[in-house]
């Protein structure tokens, strides 16, 4: 079984960030039709949710093979997702659309939190190791 390379992982993250950016732009731009805006945003959130889930699953699958350098590269690419997610939540709230988008927003935020947990793991256990686990387990 061949696993995706780190370059594939980075491409997946770039596609995800781009998709979420598009969703943010479409909310910002708005629409003359309230219903269109809701439907477009629902679709954008659902797509973003699926893409983030795939990224998280992929990082989990390949986690054991990452070097510190690869982990740092991934973290740099992942980081914008959190700012975009925060912006999308604010926009939706300010436009008073939270109620219409509750289900999609909950799922989206669940996956963003999952990505944050994965980013923390990459940072703590791969990119910036500060704990001597050998001593911790065996002193």
């Amino acid at each position: 079984m061949s696993y995706p390379t780190c370059e594939d992982d980075i491409k997946m993250i770039e596609i995800t960030v781009s998709s979420i950016e598009n969703t943010e732009r479409s909310i910002t731009k708005g629409s003359d039709e309230h219903l269109d805006l809701i439907l477009d945003t629902r679709e954008g959130l659902s797509k973003g949710t699926m893409l983030i889930r795939n990224v998280v699953d992929d990082i989990e699958r390949n986690f054991n093979n990452y070097t510190p350098e690869k982990a740092k590269n991934l973290l740099a690419k992942i980081f914008p997702v959190f700012g975009l997610a925060k912006s999308i939540n604010s926009l939706i709230e300010n436009l008073g659309l939270s109620h219409e988008l509750t289900t999609q927003l909950i799922s989206f935020n669940d996956e963003v939190r999952e990505l944050l947990e994965m980013a923390n793991d990459l940072s703590r256990y791969k990119a910036n190791i500060s704990t001597d686990y050998n001593s911790l387990f065996h002193d």
Binding site: F63, N64, D110, E114, D121, Y125, L136, F137
Partner: protein
Amino acid sequence: MPTFYTISTVRNDIDRYQKNDSYSNCCSDLCSFFKDKSIEEIFDQPQILYQGIGFRYIKSRLDNSNNAKGKSNGYRLYYYVDKTKGTITILGFYPKTGRFGKPGLTKQEEKNMIEEYKASYRSGTLMEHEIGEAFSLVEQ
């Protein structure tokens, strides 16, 4: 066939979870994760957080069959695998969401967990479990 152990904090946590409708299947979810896996397969599970000579410290994401909302709403499992001895010790097990949910382990919580493991190992108070359906304790 690997042998499974827990530290007391994990046993206490499992007791609490089982009394809550959101986590009542936690033991069978735990068993499903390990069941039919060899020590070699378990040794290679993602995510390896640390590896030493003959042992690995691993964190895995599990589904919670009570909510069936995927791993993001499932459990987190921290365990120590000693490949030479063929043993797996569960060090931490918690849900991500719901009443007992938490986002992750702080460094201090992780340190406390490992310290408890060491103390239990040295004092011989790790408890053995069977990987059937109920993750029940093995009579000593």
